[in-house]
C-alpha cells in the first residue's frame, strides 16, 4: 500500500483526483480539550496540564499556539523517536552482538539494546526537532550517541556530556546520516551470503516507502538448480530482475559495513572503507540509485535525498504516525497538501505535522450524518493508547518507573509488556495495536494501579501542590466538598472532560465501597485514581 500511495501523490499533482475522499463535512471534530489531549499525546507524549485544558476550553483557537509550544517542547524529540520506531522498527530486544560479547553485565542488557536500536531513530528525531532539513537524515556527517554507545564504538561523544548527543564516528565512514549508523545495520543485518541485499531492501522500504520484499519471489521458476548461478539468474532472469535490478546496485554501496567475521565486535562495529569497492565486484553491478549511477555510499545518500519519492515517503510516514492508520487513496489530497510546505520551506517535517494535525482526518471525533461506510471504517475517531505512550504519560503523571533488572517493563518484550501493551516489537508486531485485547487491558491495569498509588502518596501529602487530587487530604471523605473538588480536578486533567454530578457520585460510591470492604482511606483514594487511569476515556484519545 505504501508504494501505491507515494505514486498517487505524484498522480494527483498532475491533475487526477482520487476516489472516495472523505469529505470534511462528514467528519465532526473533537471538542477543544479532547483535541488538545490528542495533540499533546502525539507531540509530547504526555497529557495537557490543567491550565492548558482551561485555556483551550475558554479559547479553542488557542490550540494553534499550544501546537507551536508543543512542537518546541523537548519531549517532542522523544515522540518522534517513538513514532519512527513504529515504522522503522529498529528498537528490538536483541542484536547479533550482545552485552556478553562486550563484557557488560546482564543488568545493562536493556540499556545496550535500546541504545543500539534507537541510534537511527534519535538521528531522525534530532533532525526533525531542531528544524534541520529532512535530507540530513541521509546526508549528515553526524549521528546521535549516548554514553553507552560512546563507550563501545568509535565515536567522538562530547566529553563530560550525558544523554543523547550529536556525535561523529571516527572510522572514516561517509556522511550519510542514518545510512552510516551501526544501529540501522545491526537491525537490518545482512548475512555474508546475502551480500547486503537485505539492507538495500530496508533502504527502499524505510526511505522511499517501496517494499520490494512484498513482491512475490518464486525461485524455482527463475533459478535452475541444475545450472545454478545465483548471480547469473539475478542479472538475467526476468522474474529476478524485477527486484534485483534495483536492489543490487544499492547493495553494492554498502560493503563498507560487511564484517569478515561476524563474531568479532571490532568487525561488526567498525566501518571498513577499504571494502567499499568489493560490492561492485561481488555483485557485478555498477553502484546506482534507481538507475542513476553513484560513486559509492556518500553519493547514494545524496541521490536518495534528491528523489521525490524520499519526500513523499517522509510525508506519508509522518501522516500515518499521526492518523494512527495506514494511508490509502482517499488520503492523497491530504498528503499532497502536507507535501507542499514541506518541499517549499526547506524540508522541515514540522510543517507536515502542523498541517496534518489541523486536518479533519486528524481532528475527527465522530461522524456527521451522511458519512459513508468506507469513511466510518477508515477514519480514526478514537485512538488507543499503547505501551510506549502509557509509559511516558504515567511517568509524567506519577513518576512511574516500572523496572525489572534494568529492563523498562513498558519498553521490552523479553521480560516486559511492550507488545502485550500494544506497541510494536519491531519483529512480529509491526504496527501499533488498534483495538484493546486482554493483555493490553491487564498491562494498563497494573500500570494504572501502581501509578495511582504514587499519585495518592504525593497528592495527599500536600494538597496545595497536588497535580491531580487538588485540595484533598488523607482525611477528606466523599461527604466533604473537597472530595468533589479533588475528583473533578483529576477527571478534568486525566480525561479532558468535565465530570457530571453522576460521575462524581460514582467515584464517591467507589471510594465508600473500598472503605466498606476494609480498605483505608488511602486505599479508597488509590482506587479512585486507578479507575480514572483505566477509564475508557483515558485509555483512548
Amino acid at each position: 500500500m505504501r508504494g501505491v500511495v507515494v505514486g498517487m501523490v505524484a498522480l494527483l499533482a498532475s491533475g487526477c483526483a482520487p476516489a472516495d475522499t472523505a469529505t470534511p463535512s462528514t467528519l465532526t471534530p473533537l471538542s477543544g480539550p479532547r483535541l488538545a489531549r490528542r495533540l499533546s499525546i502525539d507531540l509530547r507524549g504526555v497529557l495537557p496540564t490543567t491550565s492548558e485544558l482551561d485555556e483551550v476550553e475558554a479559547h479553542p483557537e488557542d490550540i494553534n499556539a499550544l501546537r507551536e509550544q508543543w512542537l518546541a517542547d523537548p519531549r517532542f524529540e522523544e515522540r518522534i523517536t517513538q513514532m519512527y520506531q513504529e515504522r522503522w522498527r529498529t528498537a528490538i530486544d536483541s542484536f547479533h552482538a550482545t552485552v556478553q560479547d562486550y563484557g557488560l553485565s546482564h543488568d545493562e542488557d536493556y540499556s545496550f539494546n535500546r541504545s543500539v536500536g534507537e541510534e537511527p531513530l534519535r538521528l531522525v528525531a534530532h533532525v526533525v526537532a531542531t528544524d534541520r532539513s529532512y535530507a540530513d537524515i541521509v546526508t549528515a556527517d553526524w549521528t546521535m550517541a549516548n554514553p553507552m554507545l560512546a563507550s563501545l564504538w568509535p565515536l567522538d561523544y562530547p566529553a563530560g556530556a550525558t544523554g543523547w548527543q550529536v556525535s561523529r564516528y571516527t572510522d572514516q565512514r561517509p556522511a550519510v546520516g542514518v545510512l552510516a549508523t551501526n544501529g540501522l545495520w545491526w537491525r537490518y543485518n545482512s548475512p555474508l551470503f546475502n551480500e547486503n541485499r537485505q539492507r538495500a531492501a530496508a533502504i527502499f522500504d524505510l526511505l522511499v516507502c517501496r517494499d520490494v520484499l512484498s513482491r512475490p519471489v518464486i525461485l524455482s521458476t527463475g533459478l535452475s538448480i541444475s545450472d545454478s548461478s545465483t548471480t547469473d539468474a539475478i542479472q538475467n532472469e526476468p522474474t529476478c530482475l524485477a527486484c534485483h535490478s534495483s536492489i543490487e546496485p544499492v547493495a553494492a554501496t554498502l560493503f563498507g559495513f560487511t564484517p569478515f567475521d561476524d563474531q568479532s565486535n571490532f568487525e561488526l562495529q567498525t566501518y571498513h572503507p577499504e571494502r567499499e569497492n568489493m560490492g561492485s565486484t561481488i555483485l557485478n553491478v555498477t553502484p546506482a540509485w534507481m538507475g542513476h549511477p553513484v560513486s559509492g555510499l556518500e553519493e547514494l545518500g545524496a541521490a536518495i535525498a534528491d528523489d521525490p519519492r524520499f519526500v513523499d515517503c517522509a510525508v506519508q510516514t509522518a501522516t500515518e504516525g499521526l492518523l494512527r492508520r495506514q494511508t490509502d487513496d482517499s488520503d492523497v489530497e491530504l498528503l499532497r497538501q502536507a507535501r507542499e510546505p514541506f518541499v517549499n520551506n526547506g524540508l522541515h517535517l514540522k510543517d507536515v505535522i502542523r498541517l496534518v494535525t489541523q486536518a479533519p482526518a486528524y481532528t475527527v471525533g465522530s461522524f456527521a450524518t451522511g458519512a459513508s461506510q468506507a469513511t466510518i471504517d477508515r477514519e480514526t475517531t478514537s485512538r488507543m493508547l499503547v505501551a510506549s505512550q502509557l509509559r511516558s504519560i504515567d511517568t509524567d503523571l506519577a513518576g512511574l518507573d516500572w523496572n525489572y533488572q534494568g529492563w523498562d517493563q513498558l519498553d521490552n518484550d523479553t521480560h516486559g509488556f511492550r507488545v502485550l501493551g500494544g506497541s510494536v516489537d519491531g519483529v512480529t508486531l509491526t504496527a501499533p495495536q488498534r483495538t484493546p485485547g486482554l493483555t493490553w487491558t491487564m498491562t494498563f491495569q497494573r500500570a494504572g494501579e501502581e501509578s495511582a498509588g504514587l499519585i495518592v502518596d504525593r497528592d495527599l501529602a500536600d494538597g496545595a501542590t497536588a497535580d491531580l487530587l487538588v485540595g484533598a487530604t488523607s482525611a477528606t471523605t466523599p461527604a466533604d466538598a473537597a472530595f468533589t473538588t479533588a475528583v473533578s480536578a483529576a477527571w478534568w486533567r486525566l480525561l479532558a472532560e468535565r465530570p457530571s454530578t453522576s460521575d462524581v457520585s460514582g467515584l464517591a460510591s467507589l471510594w465508600q465501597s473500598v472503605v466498606d470492604a476494609g480498605g483505608t482511606p488511602r486505599d479508597a483514594w488509590t482506587a479512585v485514581v486507578a479507575v480514572l487511569l483505566r477509564d475508557p476515556d483515558f485509555v483512548s484519545y
Binding site: N403, L420, E450, G506, A527
Partner: protein, 428 residues
C-alpha cells in the same frame, strides 16, 4: 523400499505409549466445524524438507542427507527415514492415519520476516490478519483467550483484540496473578481481590456506558473491545499457571496449549520450535543439525499426540479428533549445499497436518525436478503435474482457506477473493 514393521515400531516406542494405541481409535465421533480447534507448531528459521518430508533421492541436483537416510512408505505416507531420527519414524508409523504431508508449498519469499507473514496470513500486507486469529475470532461463541500465542509470531490488525500473547518468558501469567510486581527496583502495588472488586465493578459499568454511547467506527470498535476484555479478565485469572509456562520448552508450551484448547478458553494456539538449544532452524552452515532439530520436534509431537489421543474430547472420542495440529516452517532450504555445508533459503517448503478433520495417510503435492511445487487439484488433492486439470501450486493462502473451511468459515469472506481450499486434505 523399506517398510517399518510393527516389530520396528515396538522397538521404537515406549510401552506406555503403545498401551494407548488403538484404543483411542475405536471411535472417532463426528466433530462439527464449530468444535474444531487448532494448534500451530512453527519451526522457526526455515527447515530443510529433505530430512523428513521430501525423499528426493532420485533428483541428482538435490543434496540429500548423507547419513543412512532412505525413502520409506507406509500407510499412505512417504518420508525420509534414518536411525538418527527414530522419533520421526515413530510418529509417521503411529499416526499415519491422522497425518497428511503437504509438499511443494510455495511461500513466495526468501526473507524470514516476510516469509513468516506470508505463511501465517497468506500475504504481505501489514494490515492482514493471520489464520490462527481469524479462526479464533470466527468461533461460534466468544472465547476469553481467542488465539493464544505461547511463542512465535502473530500478525493481526482488525483482529488484534483476539490475540493473547503470553510473552517470551511467560510474563502474561505474572500480569494476571500480580507477580509482575516483584523483582524490580520498585514493587508494584496490586490491590487484594477484595479491594480490587469495587474497582472492577466500577470500570465495567463505565466501559458498558462508553460502549453504549460510542459513535460508529473506531470509537465503537475500541469501546466494545475494551468492554469485552474487561469481561474476560475474571475468566482467565484461574489460568495464570498455564500462561506462565516455561518460555523455552516447546513441549511444555504444546501441552499447555492443549489444556487451554480443551478447557474451552481458546480455539487456537501457536507454539514456536527453535530446534536444538534454541539456535533456530536457519542453517546456512552445517545443515546436518536439522537432523537433530527434526528428531527433537518429532519426539515432542509424539508426546503431543499421545496426550491428544489419551484425553477424552468434548464431542469427539479424544482430543485428537477435535484438535488439528498444523506443523510448518516459514521457508525451505536451497536444494544444494553451500561452501559451509549449509543450505540457503528456498521459497518452496513442506508442512504437515495432523489430527481432527484431516484426511490422513496421504502426501499431497510434491516437488518437480527444479524443487518447485507440483500443482495440485484442490478438490481432490491429486497432483496435476502439467497443470492441465485445474491444478494450482499450493501457497499458504490455500492452507488458510482449507483451515477456515474446516472451521466452518468462509474463505472468500476472509480473503476477499476466491481462494480454493484444498478439500482433498479434509476428512469430510
Amino acid at each position: 523400499m523399506p517398510v517399518i514393521t510393527r516389530r520396528d515400531l515396538m522397538r521404537l516406542l515406549p510401552a506406555s505409549m503403545l498401551a494407548g494405541l488403538g484404543l483411542s481409535r475405536l471411535a472417532r465421533a463426528d466433530v462439527g466445524a464449530n468444535d474444531r480447534k487448532f494448534l500451530f507448531v512453527f519451526a522457526q528459521g526455515g527447515w530443510d524438507p529433505t530430512w523428513v518430508y521430501a525423499p528426493e533421492f532420485d533428483n541428482q541436483y538435490v543434496d540429500m542427507p548423507t547419513d543412512d537416510s532412505q525413502k520409506v512408505s507406509q500407510n499412505g505416507l512417504t518420508w525420509v527415514s534414518s536411525t538418527t531420527r527414530p522419533s520421526v519414524d515413530a510418529f509417521m508409523s503411529t499416526y499415519a492415519s491422522r497425518t497428511a504431508i503437504v509438499n511443494g508449498l510455495e511461500v513466495r519469499s526468501i526473507a524470514h520476516e516476510r516469509c513468516r507473514r506470508l505463511l501465517f496470513t497468506g500475504g504481505t500486507d501489514a494490515e492482514a490478519n493471520d489464520f490462527p486469529t481469524r479462526l479464533a475470532m470466527g468461533a461460534p461463541s466468544h472465547l476469553p483467550l481467542g488465539n493464544v500465542v505461547l511463542s512465535g509470531p502473530s500478525y493481526s490488525d482488525s483482529t488484534a483484540s483476539g490475540v493473547v500473547r503470553v510473552g517470551e518468558s511467560g510474563q502474561l501469567g505474572t500480569l494476571i496473578d500480580g507477580s509482575c510486581a516483584t523483582g524490580g527496583t520498585q514493587t508494584l502495588r496490586v490491590p487484594s481481590s477484595t479491594l480490587g472488586a469495587p474497582e472492577d465493578a466500577y470500570l465495567l459499568a463505565r466501559a458498558q456506558k462508553a460502549a453504549g454511547a460510542a459513535s460508529a467506527g473506531a470509537q465503537s470498535r475500541i469501546s466494545q473491545a475494551y468492554l469485552t476484555a474487561l469481561q474476560d479478565e475474571p475468566a482467565v485469572t484461574s489460568m495464570a499457571s498455564l500462561l506462565t509456562v516455561n518460555g523455552q520448552d516447546p513441549l511444555d508450551q504444546m501441552l499447555a496449549a492443549v489444556t487451554l484448547l480443551s478447557n474451552g478458553a481458546s480455539r487456537c494456539a501457536t507454539v514456536a520450535d527453535l530446534g536444538l538449544n534454541r539456535v533456530t532452524w536457519d542453517s546456512h552452515s552445517q545443515v546436518s543439525i536439522q537432523s537433530t532439530h527434526f528428531e527433537l520436534l518429532f519426539a515432542n509431537l509424539v508426546t503431543l499426540m499421545q496426550t491428544l489421543e489419551s484425553t477424552p474430547g468434548t464431542v469427539g472420542a479424544t482430543l485428537a479428533d477435535e484438535i488439528t495440529v498444523v506443523v510448518w516452517s516459514e521457508m525451505g532450504r536451497y536444494p544444494q549445499l553451500n561452501a559451509s555445508l549449509g543450505k540457503d533459503h528456498w521459497t518452496t517448503t513442506s508442512m504437515m497436518l495432523v489430527g481432527g478433520g484431516i484426511r490422513g495417510g496421504q502426501v499431497i503435492g510434491g516437488y518437480d525436478s527444479n524443487m518447485g511445487g507440483v500443482p495440485v487439484i484442490p478438490e481432490t488433492g491429486a497432483s496435476d503435474p502439467d497443470g492441465t486439470s485445474g491444478g494450482v501450486v499450493l501457497q499458504p493462502v490455500h492452507l488458510g482457506a482449507t483451515l477456515l473451511t474446516l472451521a466452518g468459515l468462509d474463505p472468500v469472506e476472509a480473503f476477499g477473493t476466491d481462494v480454493a481450499p484444498i478439500l482433498g486434505l479434509l476428512a469430510q
